[in-house]
Symmetry: C2
Subunit: 205 residues, 2 copies
């Protein structure tokens, strides 16, 4: 693409580096910005700059936070004995939205993915081990995505923590609530049979 202006070229180059946005979409966004009042671009630009400059992470669970301790870790009503291990803040938000979890979190910041150059050192696994050593943790719930990287990460952490007197669990996999069996993939359906639960338990929630 030959741009008639170096400013447009530069903006498209930067925006097109974002995941899921190609050069065509980037140009569409640039033209949209040019049609909006000046302060729209200013607010957008400053929100992006401030975000990266001033972002903070909870010292305990490593979730994104406005303070040194996030509102969940700071809440004395949350169960201190259960830690739910998740990949990032989106998972915390998703689980919080269910209202089903009253424990605390540990945010890894990713999954072990050697192909992408992400090893255990890039994640907050050492900090998790420290928490188990210093806090009164009794159960670890693994709530990573159901992928090979997720399973690998679960197993790595399990090995690291196996010397502690902990209960380990994984969020259940299976047919989604409201889903028809015929649309489920074979692996999911297979798991939902092999890992079936007692009928009385299923009636509870």
């Amino acid at each position: 693409m030959d741009f008639p202006s170096s400013l447009v070229q530069k903006a498209v180059d930067e925006i097109a580096q974002l995941p899921g946005i190609g050069r065509r979409s980037a140009l569409r966004l640039v033209l949209h910005l040019l049609r909006q009042p000046k302060d729209f671009s200013e607010r957008l630009s400053s929100a992006i700059a401030t975000l990266r400059q001033q972002i903070r992470y909870c010292n305990t669970c490593h979730n994104i936070s406005d303070a040194d301790e996030c509102s969940i870790c700071a809440n004395p009503l949350r169960n201190q004995n259960v830690l739910c291990v998740v990949e990032d803040v989106r998972d915390v938000m998703a689980i919080e939205a269910t209202g089903q979890f009253k424990g605390r979190y540990h945010v890894l910041g990713g999954k072990i993915a050697p192909m992408e150059g992400i090893g255990p050192q890039q994640l907050t696994i050492d900090a998790l081990v420290e928490r188990v050593e210093n806090e009164d943790v009794r159960e670890i719930i693994f709530a990573l995505g159901s992928t090979m990287e997720g399973d690998t990460t679960n197993y790595y952490i399990f090995k690291k923590l196996s010397k502690f007197p902990l209960t380990f669990s994984v969020i259940s996999r299976g047919i989604g609530v409201g889903d028809e069996l015929e649309y489920a993939d074979e692996l999911t359906l297979g798991r939902s049979i092999s890992q079936r639960i007692p009928f009385e338990v299923s009636m509870k929630s």
Copy 2:
């Protein structure tokens, strides 16, 4: 969505105002920015701010430009007698990429769309009339998208310019090059029959 940080909240709010980006995608982009080095966000943020602050438009054709006159209008080799009327810079870029047009452009900045509050006054139609009065224009090519708004705009401009000794033409509509007839919609196929061209003409390009 309940965000754990007001910075994230603010960035998501701003990014989600862009067309085609929902709150979920905005959060995905925010998390991506947080994983990148600081200078990535800085470059993105400054490109957006500079774009809107310093953007300039060609005084003649109203295309986006780095100077008071764009490179096309400044080029003495471009035919001064033919003006191609387009909606925005994307259309200029698309037509330039074909290498088939050696005239000059007039960028309207949109189409007449009363439903979206865009009337002739928001577009550069008066400037187009002035150009026809002052320059040696002999042909106007309408190259707007083939929609009701496009046709309305063409007709409005045609009426405004009908007192001048001009030839008017519209880019041809029809089956795309390389397309099968069975996949074309009825309107397009109908037009390509009613507006058929002499066989010898079709052999030229």
